[in-house]
Assembly symmetry: C3
Homo-oligomer: 340 residues x 3
Amino acid sequence: MTFIRNRWYIAAWDGEVANKPISRKICGEPIVMYRKLDGSVVALRDACPHRLLPLSMGMREGDNIRCMYHGMLVGPDGTPEEMPQVHERVNKKVCTPSYGVVEKFRYIWVWIGDQEKADETKIPNFWPCDSEGWVFDGGYMHVACDYRLFIDNLMDLTHETYVHAGSIGQKELKEAPLETVVDGDKVTLSRWIPNISPPPFWRDALQKDVPVDRWQICEFIEPCSVHIDVGVSPVENGDTIESHDSGVRGFVVDSMTPETETTCHYFWGMVRNFRIEDQGLTDRIKNGQFKIFSEDIDILEGQQISIADNPDMALRVLSIDSGGTHARRVIEKLMKVENG
Amino acid sequence: MTFIRNRWYIAAWDGEVANKPISRKICGEPIVMYRKLDGSVVALRDACPHRLLPLSMGMREGDNIRCMYHGMLVGPDGTPEEMPQVHERVNKKVCTPSYGVVEKFRYIWVWIGDQEKADETKIPNFWPCDSEGWVFDGGYMHVACDYRLFIDNLMDLTHETYVHAGSIGQKELKEAPLETVVDGDKVTLSRWIPNISPPPFWRDALQKDVPVDRWQICEFIEPCSVHIDVGVSPVENGDTIESHDSGVRGFVVDSMTPETETTCHYFWGMVRNFRIEDQGLTDRIKNGQFKIFSEDIDILEGQQISIADNPDMALRVLSIDSGGTHARRVIEKLMKVENG
Amino acid sequence: MTFIRNRWYIAAWDGEVANKPISRKICGEPIVMYRKLDGSVVALRDACPHRLLPLSMGMREGDNIRCMYHGMLVGPDGTPEEMPQVHERVNKKVCTPSYGVVEKFRYIWVWIGDQEKADETKIPNFWPCDSEGWVFDGGYMHVACDYRLFIDNLMDLTHETYVHAGSIGQKELKEAPLETVVDGDKVTLSRWIPNISPPPFWRDALQKDVPVDRWQICEFIEPCSVHIDVGVSPVENGDTIESHDSGVRGFVVDSMTPETETTCHYFWGMVRNFRIEDQGLTDRIKNGQFKIFSEDIDILEGQQISIADNPDMALRVLSIDSGGTHARRVIEKLMKVENG
């Protein structure tokens, strides 16, 4: 097993789940999701408790879903509301597993593992994703790699120079010193680049061309998210790595939910606190991210295949891998805790 | 193993096997079939006894088949008639397994398992399929499911309401009481619906619109067939579930030969005793069955995938599953007998 | 394991390897090849020693290759020239396996197995492939079969009658007596057909129509090559099987490098000593070989599938299989030697 089970995982964007059922495999378990009439989301194992036909092939009726094989009507808690045989007594023991599910920070979160341990307060705090003064958008991609390879990728930004040579790669970034801080289960990788000329994207964001301090702070949020605090602030404002809200700021918000041991669901996006009413800018950022993350996916899927093809070779840890290495250690430690 | 080996299995329709060899995997064994000059059918393992090239890639010569690799000429009993080297002494020990094969009831039957046990009298009695006064036609489909899932499907007709909602599903059927009878290795599931107005198909068949008694009698015939006796008879004739030949009657004739543990060959058709000269009606029935069985296959292939994806969930047995459950018990019992 | 590891294997034609990296799996190991500025060839494991991204996805710089993930610059010996982090000290222990590589007889040969044993003098002698007075051309095909099935195929020419019925198959060949000679690790299969009328191809080569002696001498050259000495000579010249250079002569030059246990790389061609300036003839021979070898591949891939599908049947050895059987024995013996 390569992932922690007793955790909240992002299963979908809020916009992906509607009245019609949607199926997605999370941590190896096929899950069907749909919205009830009141808009709240249901998450069930995607298998009728009777003969296992995927419920996602079924038909919605009220807050229930009817299996299209023998017509068992399954309620939002996974227990039958009607048996296939019309007058048969409803047997609530013939039920499909249901999952704790919460809609928060624009995502649908499901709790995998022991359902009695599902506790909404354990959802990680993605605060900018639903705060006043911020705007958040992004997308979804399926990726054929172990989710931990993706964490490695995001916890190190030197790869930008090569993977994203044609878009966001910049020499100054590579030369700025990196600091890695491990605080409990939190791993942070920081770069503070003082007094530089802002690159085009950030100059446009700031709407003036003055010397700025720039930062990139990657934070690993277990079990499978990386948020990157990015932005610039005029030098005269005197911002610091601890406090930098006087300029323009955003977070690259990435979560890689395991699908299987070698595939994952990639939820990516950006949340920002500048020009938040500008939908055109929101779209341009989203299109830009789509291109950049597609470049990462080519690399990650190539890496996954190569790992399988070269069983005698190990992933080596160099200084730039410090962030990903610490993140993997956190995951391993938490898996050991989980498995006793 | 999920199937009984010492049995006759349908390997093809009579029309599928001609002079040119045809290959089909039956119970995991690749088999090549062709007709001899006298029209009788040969069934051999589809591998040249020399270097295993499929004989189905070969060329027919008289009643033999010549391997297209080194030219060994293999006779209809699987032994060589000529060796690859022209003047080499024929060695009858270098042979490919041959199968007991019988053409009966419009099918080509092959005996899998111990060939010395092949006994033509053990072929199940599909009597209407070659009786005077009856006409029989149907088709073939490859299905990616365990053949036993298909037996479950056919030994329960409540699924018609959902799977075939747009074609043959009807409320009255679902409400009629079901009777399951197990008699040795025979499992029968019966519905008798007295004194109803005939539905369009049967009214047209009867060619008058009078109150009728209607029946549906599913019979499991081991190892892998289900015949469904269907029809209507005017109430005034006084037909019964034991004897109902005074109206119009047909059998849905279905056999699901295992190909592998998770795939099967589906031979489907209808044999009827009314308007038997009407080839247009025969074609319309066949086209209708094709559509209906395609709906079943969508369900069955979805179910097979879901079973693999949900290893922690079991198929549950409800009252409507009685027919399939008894059929599976017969199969299990016979497998135990076979394996001693 | 089905192949010997401590051997030189053909990995590519000389024309396939250029400045741009090319990747090919040899004996299960992904290998990247490219030419240095001086034209010599580099062969490395196709995985960056850092995080295993295929180096073949990288970018050439001078004689090095830069990984496109984090930018490690890998030298032609597999050790880093630059680390991903700009000022990090180069650690030569973080390296990727490199392979002995030699360009000879128009092929790129790589040494698989223990690199300290790589000895250029062990490359088999394909003398006509770079001798004065001879011209050599051919092509490459990927084949989904165990390379030993291909050796069987080439060490027996009776299959020509069937597999190549429409092209080079001829009755006279099949009737000529065959002689198999095993001399150490060399297996030779010879046919000498005295005093016949030359077939069209050889009459055109000879450029006169006189009675000829004809020969076909298949030689297995371990670990995976078969050369077939073919030609005709006017009877009056008195050529013999030991010495036959007074007429027209060629070699069919075939090497089947294992890719995996069930797939191989097929390098095929012809080298000849007549009309060597005639490029049109060279092309026509190459096109003819392409057609003929495609016929073999259909057979070999069918045979490979059939072997997997018929685990209860064994490859039988008849008199015509003597050549292949001896070749397989040589391989087995050498594998035993290798494994101690």
